[in-house]
C-alpha cells in the first residue's frame, strides 16, 4: 500500500508535466491535454479509493509512506513522508473525486481556449500540491502543498493574463496568502523550538508537556496561516478577486479544496488546538464574523461568481465556527458537503456563463431554466443544499455546526474560562445567534441568485444554450451528492471521523445524548430559518420585485456600504498598501539615495575633494611664499616638539 500512497500524488504531477510538454505542440495535441489531465486525476482517485478500502479494512490503522529525507540539520530532521489516515482519506477522496469531475467539466468549459494545455497542467499541478498538503506526514510537507496550492491558485487566477486585472488578482491572492503563510512559518518555528519536531505523531506526543502559553501562541500563528488560505477576516479580500480565473478553477480551488485547507490543518493539528482554548475562542469569533460579513456582502452582489465567492467565504466562516468549538469532525463534515454543493454551484454558474458567452452579470440573465434545464435543476438542488433546506446535505452539516456552537460552553468545560461574555450572553450563544442570522441571509441571497438567473425574462443579448455533456454530467453527479449525501451517509460519516479523532471533544454527540429535546427544537428552528430565507428570496424576486428596489432606495448608505464590501479593500489600500508604498519610496529616495548614498558616501568623497581644493590654495606658485611656509612649519614643528618633549639644554 505504501507504493500506492506514493503514486497518488505522483499521478497528477506526471499529468502536469505531460500536458505542459504538449503545450508547445499543435492543436491536435491540445485536444488531448484535457483528457490526459482528467485521466491523471481519475487515476489518482481510483488509487485513493483502494487505499481507503485498505484503511477501512483494519480498525484504527494508518498507512504511511516514506519517500526520502528532505533535509536534516541535526537534531532537526524533515522527512518527505506521507500519512494516510481517516481524515486524510476523506480529504483525498474529495480532492481527487471532485477534482476529477471538475477536470472533466473543464474539458468542455475550456474547449475554445488556445492555451488549454497550460490550463490543465496547472490544474493537475494543483491536484499534486493539494495532495501533498493533505497527505503530508509533517507540517513541512503540508506547507509544501500549502504554498504549492497558493502558487497554482496564483497561476490559474491569472490564467487569462492578457487582462492585467486578472494578473493583479492572482498576485493579490498569492501575496495575501503569503501573509498567512508567514504566520504558519512562525507557528512551525515555535513548535520546532518547543518540541524539536514537526511530525504530527511527535507533535501530539510532545504538546501536552509544553508551556500552555506557547501552545496558545503556536495555535494562533498557525491559525493565521489558515486565515490566509481559507479567506477569513481580515485576509479574505483575495477570494472575491480570485473569481477572475476560469470557472472550473473557482469550483476546484476556491470552493471545494484549497480554501478548506485551513480547516483541514486545524483538524490535523487538533491536539494542539485542544490544548489552546483561547486560540479556539479567537477562531470561533473570526469564523462567526467572517460568516456574517461575507453573507451581508453576498446579498447585494450582481456578479454571479462574486455571489458564490462571498458565499464561500461565509461558509468557510461556518467551518471555522465548528473548529472554534473544537468540533473538528463537524467542520470536516461541512467541508465535504460544501465541496459538493459549492462545486456544483460554481460549475452551474460556469455553465451559465459558458452558455451566455462569458457574461457574468446576473442582471443580464433571466429565464434560463428553459434554455438550460439540466444546469437549472442542479443549480436548484445545490442552492437548496447551501440554504440548509431540510434533509439536504447542507442542512445536516450546518445544523451540526450550529448545534455544537450552541453547546460549546457546556460541553467543553476547558473552554469556559475563555468564553467572553457580551453583556449577559455567553460568546457561544452570541455566535450561534449570528450563525442563525447568517443562515437566513444565506438562504436569501442564494435564492436571489437562483431567481435572477433562471427565472423571469431573459435580459441578455446572446442566445444562451445548454452546455455539452462533459459539463453537465459532473453537475449531475455533484448535485446528487449535494442532495443526498447528508441524508444517506451523514451519520456514518460522522462516526467514521469521530472514530479517527482521538481527542475530539465529541461535542455534538455528547450533547445530543443528553439534550435530545433541545436539539430537535433547534433543528426545527433552523429548518424554519432556511425555508423563511428561501421564501423571502422567491417573493422578492418574483411577485414583490419592488421590495428590493425600495430597500436600495431607502437605505442607500447601507447598500453602498455593502456593495463596496464594507470598504475593506479601500481600507487596506489606504491604511496598508499606500502608506507602505509611500514609505518604500521614502526609503529609496530619501534614505538610500540621499542620506546613505548622497550624504554619507558621496558626501564624504566630496568632503575630501573640497579639502583638496582648500589645500591647493597653499600651492600659490610663489617661491617666497613656499619658503615662508616651509620655514614657519619648521619653526612650529620644532617649537611643538620642544614644548611636548622638554629636554635639558
Amino acid at each position: 500500500m505504501e507504493k500506492t500512497l506514493l503514486l497518488v500524488p505522483l499521478f497528477p504531477l506526471v499529468g502536469a508535466l505531460l500536458t505542459y510538454v504538449i503545450s508547445g505542440k499543435d492543436e491536435r495535441h491540445h485536444r488531448m491535454a484535457g483528457w490526459i489531465a482528467t485521466f491523471a486525476a481519475v487515476g489518482s482517485f481510483i488509487l485513493t479509493f483502494q487505499l481507503w478500502r485498505a484503511l477501512s479494512a483494519v480498525e484504527g490503522s494508518v498507512i504511511t509512506a516514506h519517500a526520502w529525507t528532505w533535509f536534516e540539520v541535526l537534531p532537526f530532521k524533515v522527512e518527505f513522508a506521507f500519512l494516510f489516515d481517516r481524515l486524510a482519506a476523506v480529504m483525498t477522496l474529495i480532492i481527487t473525486g471532485v477534482g476529477s469531475l471538475i477536470h472533466l467539466y473543464a474539458i468542455g468549459y475550456m474547449s475554445h481556449d488556445p492555451e488549454r494545455p497550460r490550463f490543465f497542467a496547472y490544474l493537475n499541478l494543483f491536484l499534486f500540491a493539494m495532495l501533498l498538503l493533505v497527505l503530508g506526514d509533517n507540517l513541512l510537507v503540508m506547507f509544501v502543498g500549502w504554498e504549492g496550492v497558493g502558487l497554482c491558485s496564483y497561476l490559474l487566477i491569472g490564467f487569462w493574463h492578457r487582462d492585467m486585472g486578472n494578473a493583479v488578482a492572482g498576485q493579490k491572492a498569492f501575496v495575501v496568502n503569503r501573509i498567512g503563510d508567514a504566520g504558519f512559518l512562525l507557528g512551525m518555528f515555535l513548535l520546532v523550538m518547543m518540541t524539536g519536531s514537526l511530525e504530527f505523531q511527535q507533535l501530539s506526543q510532545q504538546i501536552p508537556y509544553v508551556d500552555p502559553m506557547m501552545i496558545e501562541l503556536a495555535a494562533i500563528l498557525l491559525f493565521i496561516g489558515a486565515v490566509g488560505k481559507s479567506a477569513q477576516i481580515p485576509l479574505y479580500v483575495w477570494l472575491p478577486d480570485a473569481m477572475a480565473g476560469p470557472t472550473p478553477v473557482s469550483a476546484l480551488i476556491h470552493a471545494a479544496t484549497m480554501v478548506t485547507a485551513g480547516v483541514y490543518m486545524m483538524a490535523r493539528m487538533q491536539v494542539l488546538y485542544s490544548f489552546a482554548p483561547a486560540a479556539l475562542s479567537v477562531v470561533l469569533i473570526v469564523g462567526t464574523l467572517t460568516a456574517f460579513v461575507a453573507a451581508t456582502i453576498a446579498i447585494v452582489q450582481n456578479d454571479i461568481k462574486k455571489v458564490l465567492a462571498y458565499s464561500t467565504v461565509s461558509q468557510l466562516g461556518y467551518m471555522f465556527m465548528a473548529m472554534g468549538s473544537a468540533a473538528f469532525s463537524n467542520g470536516i463534515f461541512h467541508v465535504v458537503t460544501h465541496a459538493f454543493f459549492k462545486a456544483c454551484l460554481f460549475m452551474g454558474a460556469g455553465s451559465v456563463i459558458h452558455g451566455c458567452h462569458h457574461e457574468q452579470d446576473m442582471r443580464k440573465f433571466g429565464g434560463l431554466w428553459r434554455k438550460m434545464p439540466l444546469t437549472f435543476v442542479t443549480y436548484l438542488i445545490s442552492t437548496l443544499a447551501i440554504a440548509g433546506f431540510p434533509f439536504t446535505s447542507g442542512f445536516f452539516s450546518k445544523d451540526a455546526i450550529l448545534w455544537t456552537v450552541f453547546n460549546v460552553a457546556e460541553d467543553a468545560p476547558a473552554m469556559n474560562h475563555t468564553v467572553v461574555v457580551f453583556g449577559d450572553i455567553p460568546l457561544n450563544l452570541f455566535c450561534w445567534g449570528v450563525g442563525v442570522l447568517t443562515a437566513l441571509m444565506t438562504a436569501f441571497y442564494m435564492t436571489r441568485s437562483l431567481m435572477m438567473t433562471f427565472f423571469g425574462k431573459y435580459r441578455g443579448h446572446h442566445e444562451p444554450h445548454e452546455s455539452p455533456m462533459v459539463m453537465t454530467i459532473p453537475l449531475m453527479i455533484l448535485a446528487a451528492l449535494a442532495a443526498g449525501f447528508g441524508f444517506v451517509y451523514g451519520e456514518a460519516f460522522m462516526e467514521y471521523l469521530v472514530g479517527w479523532t482521538r481527542i475530539d471533544m465529541q461535542v455534538g454527540h455528547h450533547a445530543l445524548a443528553e439534550h435530545n429535546e433541545v436539539y430537535h427544537t433547534l433543528e426545527l428552528f433552523s429548518m424554519g430559518v432556511a425555508i423563511l430565507g428561501i421564501v423571502i428570496g422567491v417573493l422578492c424576486y418574483s411577485v414583490c420585485s419592488g421590495i428590493p428596489k425600495a430597500l436600495v432606495k431607502h437605505a442607500k448608505g447601507l447598500h453602498n456600504f455593502l456593495v463596496n464590501k464594507w470598504w475593506v479593500d479601500e481600507f487596506y489600500q489606504a491604511v496598508l498598501i499606500r502608506p507602505l508604498s509611500g514609505f518604500s519610496t521614502f526609503l529609496f529616495k530619501s534614505i538610500d539615495r540621499v542620506l546613505i548614498d548622497g550624504i554619507l558616501v558621496n558626501g564624504s568623497g566630496m568632503f575630501v575633494e573640497a579639502g583638496g581644493d582648500v589645500l591647493r590654495r597653499l600651492q600659490s606658485g610663489r617661491t617666497s611664499s613656499y619658503a615662508f611656509l616651509m620655514f614657519v612649519s619648521l619653526f612650529l614643528l620644532i617649537l611643538l616638539y620642544l614644548v611636548f618633549m622638554p629636554v635639558p639644554i
Binding site: V608, L615, Q619, T623, Y626, M630, F644, V647, P648
Partner: protein
C-alpha cells in the same frame, strides 16, 4: 689604499671615467658611433652596477670610515643606477619632443647626479654626505631647466634651485649643530657621543630632517615638488621622482638609523607627524589635479609619507620595508612617468601636454602603454598582487610591530583616497571610449621606451608575487646598517 678602498672606489671610478669618456667622445661627435649616445649611459650604469656587486655581501667602511661598503649601499646604488638607466632608455628619441636639445651634457648631468646620489647613500661622514647631496642637487637643478626655451622649465628650475639652496643651507646648519653637540662628523662618532640628547642636538636633527624632508618632499617641505615635476621635461621628472628620492631616502635612513638611531624616541614623534601630513595632504590635493605629472608629483609626496612610516620602526622591519618600498616605488613611478613621456612627446604638442584627458582611450589604441599605466596606477594604489601592495604590506607590518597601528590605519584610509585619482587614470584610458586626438601619440614605440616599460611592468608584477628574496636582501642591508 687598502683592498677595501679599491673595492669601494672601483664603481665610483668606473662611473667617473665613463662620464669623462663620454665628455671626450662628445667632442668628437659620437653621433657617428654605432650606438645611439643614450645607450652609452645605460652601458656606464650597467658597468658600475656590476662593480657594485661585491658590496652585496660586505659590511665594512672604506676611506677611513667615510664610506660604507655594505649591502645597504649596494641596494640603493642599484636602484639609483637602474633608475638612471631607465631614464636613458625612456629618453631614447623622445627628448626632442620635450623641447630639450639632445646633447651629451644632459647625459653627463644625469650620470653626475647619479654619482652624487650614490655618494650620499654610501656616506658615513657628514661632509661626504653634503658633497654628494650638492652634487646631486646642482645637477638636477640644471636638468629641470634643460628645456631652456620653455617658461615652465625655467620657472621650475628657479623654484627648485632657490628652495633647494635654502633647504640645503638648513641641512648644513643642522650638520654644524650636530657636530657641535657631538664633536664628530662621522655617523659612528655621532652615535658614540650622542649620550643624553641636548637641545642643540635636537635642533640639529630637526634642521637635518628639514633638509632631507625637502629632498624627499615631505609635507610641509613639499611645495616645490608639484611645480618642479610639472615644469621639468617629463623624463627628468621621472628621474627626480625616482633617483633623487631613492638617494635621499637612502642617505636619510642611513643617517637616522646609524647616526641618530639611539635617540629615535626623541625624533620619532616628529617623523610620525610628517608621515601622516605627507600622505594625507599629498593624496587629498592629488584628487583635484588635472595634469598627470602634477598628480604624480602629489602622489610621490604621499608615497614619501608612506615610506616614512618605516622610519618609525627602525628595527629590521621598518628599514627593510623602506628599502623594499623604494624599490617598488621606483618601478611603478618610472613606468607611470614613462607612459606620460611617451604620450606627451614626439609630437607637435604643447610642452606641458599632460592633462589626464590626453590619455583618453590609450588602453585600446596602445595596449602596451595602457597596461603599463594600469599596472603602475594599481600598484601605486596598493592593489594586490602588485609590488605596491607588497611594499605597503611590509610597511604596515613594520608600523604595527612598532606599535603604530593607528598610523597604519591612517595609511590604509589614505590608500582609499588615493584609489580615486589613480583609478581615474584607468577610467580615462579604458572607459571613456577612444577619442580622436588633435595630435597622435607615436604609433610605433621605439625600442628604448618599449623595453623600459616592459621591464618596469613585469618588475612591478614580479615584485608583487616573488618579493621574498628582495625583502630578505633588504633585511640584510638594514641589519648591516644597524651594526655599523
Amino acid at each position: 689604499m687598502s683592498t677595501i678602498d679599491i673595492i669601494a672606489a672601483a664603481p665610483l671610478f668606473c662611473m667617473t671615467f665613463g662620464i669623462l669618456a663620454l665628455l671626450v667622445l662628445d667632442l668628437f661627435r659620437i653621433d657617428a658611433l654605432p650606438f645611439p649616445r643614450l645607450w652609452w649611459g645605460v652601458g656606464i650604469c650597467g658597468a658600475t652596477a656590476f662593480l657594485f656587486w661585491p658590496f652585496l655581501s660586505m659590511n665594512e667602511t672604506a676611506f677611513s670610515g667615510m664610506m660604507a661598503v655594505d649591502t645597504f649601499t649596494f641596494a640603493f646604488a642599484l636602484m639609483i643606477l637602474g633608475g638612471s638607466a631607465v631614464t636613458f632608455m625612456l629618453s631614447d628619441e623622445l627628448l626632442e619632443g620635450q623641447r630639450v636639445e639632445p646633447s651629451a651634457d644632459l647625459d653627463l648631468l644625469v650620470l653626475f647626479s647619479a654619482l652624487g646620489g650614490i655618494m650620499m647613500v654610501a656616506a658615513t661622514h657628514m661632509m661626504l654626505l653634503f658633497v654628494g647631496f650638492e652634487l646631486l642637487s646642482i645637477c638636477v637643478y640644471v636638468l629641470t631647466g634643460s628645456a631652456r626655451n620653455q617658461r615652465a622649465s625655467s620657472e621650475g628650475a628657479l623654484k627648485y634651485f632657490i628652495l633647494g639652496a635654502f633647504s640645503s643651507a638648513f641641512l648644513l646648519y643642522g650638520m654644524a649643530l650636530v657636530y657641535g653637540a657631538t664633536g664628530s662628523m662621522y655617523y659612528s662618532g655621532i652615535a658614540a657621543h650622542i649620550g643624553e640628547p641636548s637641545m642643540m642636538l635636537l635642533i640639529g636633527i630637526g634642521l637635518m630632517i628639514f633638509g632631507f624632508g625637502f629632498k624627499v618632499s615631505l609635507v610641509p617641505f613639499h611645495f616645490w615638488t608639484p611645480d618642479v615635476y610639472q615644469g621639468a621635461p617629463t623624463s627628468m621628472s621621472g628621474f627626480m621622482a625616482v633617483v633623487v628620492k631613492a638617494a635621499a631616502f637612502g642617505a636619510f635612513f642611513r643617517l637616522m638609523a646609524s647616526g641618530f638611531g639611539s635617540v629615535s624616541a626623541s625624533w620619532s614623534a616628529m617623523v610620525a607627524v610628517l608621515a601622516v601630513l605627507s600622505m594625507t595632504i599629498g593624496n587629498v590635493i592629488a584628487l583635484r589635479q588635472t595634469s598627470v605629472k602634477r598628480m604624480l608629483a602629489y602622489s610621490s609626496i604621499a608615497h614619501a609619507g608612506y615610506a616614512m612610516v618605516g622610519f618609525l620602526a627602525l628595527g629590521e622591519g621598518g628599514g627593510a620595508a623602506v628599502v623594499f618600498y623604494m624599490l617598488v616605488y621606483s618601478l611603478m613611478t618610472l613606468a607611470a612617468f614613462g607612459v606620460v613621456l611617451v604620450v606627451s612627446s614626439g609630437t607637435e604638442a604643447q610642452y606641458d601636454q599632460d592633462s589626464i584627458e590626453s590619455l583618453q582611450g590609450l588602453g585600446w589604441t596602445h595596449p602596451l602603454l595602457g597596461i603599463a599605466m594600469t599596472v603602475a596606477m594599481l600598484s601605486l594604489a596598493g592593489v594586490p598582487p602588485l609590488g605596491g601592495f607588497i611594499g605597503k604590506f611590509y610597511l604596515f607590518s613594520a608600523a604595527v610591530r612598532a606599535g603604530y597601528t593607528s598610523i597604519a590605519v591612517v595609511a590604509a584610509l589614505n590608500s582609499v583616497i588615493s584609489l580615486y585619482y589613480y583609478l581615474r587614470v584607468v577610467v580615462v584610458m579604458y572607459f571613456s571610449g577612444e577619442r580622436q586626438l588633435s595630435w597622435e601619440p607615436p604609433r610605433v614605440l621605439v625600442f628604448g621606451p618599449r623595453l623600459a616599460l616592459i621591464l618596469l611592468t613585469t618588475g612591478t608584477l614580479y615584485m608583487g608575487i616573488f618579493s621574498s628574496r628582495y625583502y630578505e636582501t633588504a633585511q640584510i642591508a638594514v641589519r648591516s646598517l644597524m651594526q655599523l
